[in-house]
Amino acid sequence: MTANAPSLDLQQEMFRKMCLTRALEEALGRLHAQGRTRGPIHRCDGQEAVGVGVTAALETGDKVTTTHRGHAVYLGKGMDPDAVVAEIMGRATGACGGRAGHMLVADASLGMIGGNAIVGAGIPAATGMALSMQVLGQPHVAACVFGDGAAQTGICHEAMNMAALWSLPVIFVLEQNRFGLTVPFEAQSSVPDLSVRAAGYGMPAVRVDGNDVVAVYRAVQDMAARARRGDGPGLIVAETYRLEGFSTSDMGGYQDPAEIARWKERDPLTLARAALLAAGLQAQRIDALRAEAEDRIAASFAAADAAPLPVFEPDMAAMPYTAGRV
């Protein structure tokens, strides 16, 4: 491990983005309880360190793909909270004009392309972007964040084999939150430690504390440095826990409250706060960061509420007759 520690500035920035994400998730939880969200919403509270840590280690020109649970990646890669919130709320001002919805957000200008609700599909997506980079001789990398459920899909195997075979600059970040949808990891995976699979592709693997944003950041930085050198892909297993059910449609009853409580003690925001304190930042400043983030998200929701709903336009490019005739 040769990674640098993130600067204090970057640590603060990561904390801020985690706070934004947390505020977003909690607001969505409240709105859902009021019946004001649309479709299933997949919260990532408690897992913010993964999406934020990964994206913090990426550079301009690098790309990232994420899952149906991608809010931390959206915000981490620098998307405007207003655009993210408005998209989730189905407004014309959303990042995708309300067409995509919370699972499929993208901002191509930032290389965040994108959320993906077909489990596993973000893995070959990032691998294909890395292929493009290699063909063009670009110095960039692509990262994908995917779940422990997604690791069992065939497409994961095919993509990892090709990535390693061709030394593509891609970083596989397995966000191990211990559940697929309701089925625990142990009932989906034939091995208790998914990092062992990397050996099947001859690529390095590392397990990190997925609730420690600095640990995630460093692991990604390491793997990215390798990939930029032309040494190919690597696998990071970020160990975390899904606190809030698989989505707003979750009817519960299968998670162990004691386990949830144990993981809440290791809340990534708590850990990051402690690290900032240890690094010498004042408690007041840290709390101000969090409060600002909460205000920022509240403002985004207020703006989305006030924003117009989108107006339907047919997709002429997809129409099946020449000259767009229907």
């Binding site: 649309r38 407004r91 309300g98 499929l104 077909i118 596993g120 997604a150 309701t182 449609s249 047919p314």
Partner: protein
Amino acid sequence: MAVMRYAEALNLALREEMEADPTVFLFGEDIGGYGGVFKVTKDLQAQFGPSRVRDTPISEQAMTAMAVSAAMTGTRPVLEIMYADFLPLCMDALINQASIYDYIWNGQVQMPFVLRTQGGGGAGAGAQHSKSLDGMLAHIPGLKVVAPATPQDAYSLLRAAIRDPGPVIFLEHKLLYNQRGEVTDAAQPPIGRAVTRRAGRDVSIFATSRMVHEALSAAEMLEGDGVSAEVVDLRSLRPLDLGAITASVARTHHAVVVNEGWRFCGYTAELAASIMEHAFDDLDAPVERVALPDMAIPYAEPLESAVIPSAQTIRAAALSAVR
């Protein structure tokens, strides 16, 4: 028997078939302890144990292939694919495996499996969780494809599907699970029979799945327009009950076909083509198709409701058919 929800009718059918036949087993994502994300398999794992009600990893491609080969070797698997949108992952098993063996192996094997899934829009679930791929499925030789619109048909057709000697794709609809209705085991319609849900004189509306209910609402409105509409619930997309269709068109001379999938090369294309082939002389106007426009299903409410076929769009189509 009783009034129950569509999801409960499915659950009952599964339970009864599992009780009657120890070779029936279920597998799919989150169908065990949790009872399925739409609760269709509720309590079945507790009754039948984890071997016969099995939670799977997220591996649709292999699961479907395994349903095919398990069915060849003495069991009757019932596979749940959580959303019809994931069926593209299952296509090799259906097209290159399930569909060919009965013929190319000269009847050496049977493949009595059921693939249950649910599709359709209207729930704000976005472009990857709202589709109906009915036309693609019904294109595949050797499969049966059924789509119940009522609790009674959910119950009866699922039982028939499980007992069928060949592969059956069983299409549920996410907006129908809470529909309530009387369910009896007196009526056991065979797969392949349409049913007239409402008689009419001026136009025949042929619809599938949830669109049957939209068609019935449209027929109410059309009453006000002075048009008497017949509504036929096809129930079985493949095999198609052509006799019921031509008989209805022979009475009304006008036809509207409704399906929630895309229009171009979709299921309504076949319906329109079949009707025009077999009832050309009876038709006074071209068959009107009501389908999803050829585009991705959008997320925001006003956009999604603009694309999903509805009573309004069916009514408009019926009016242009008769005028």
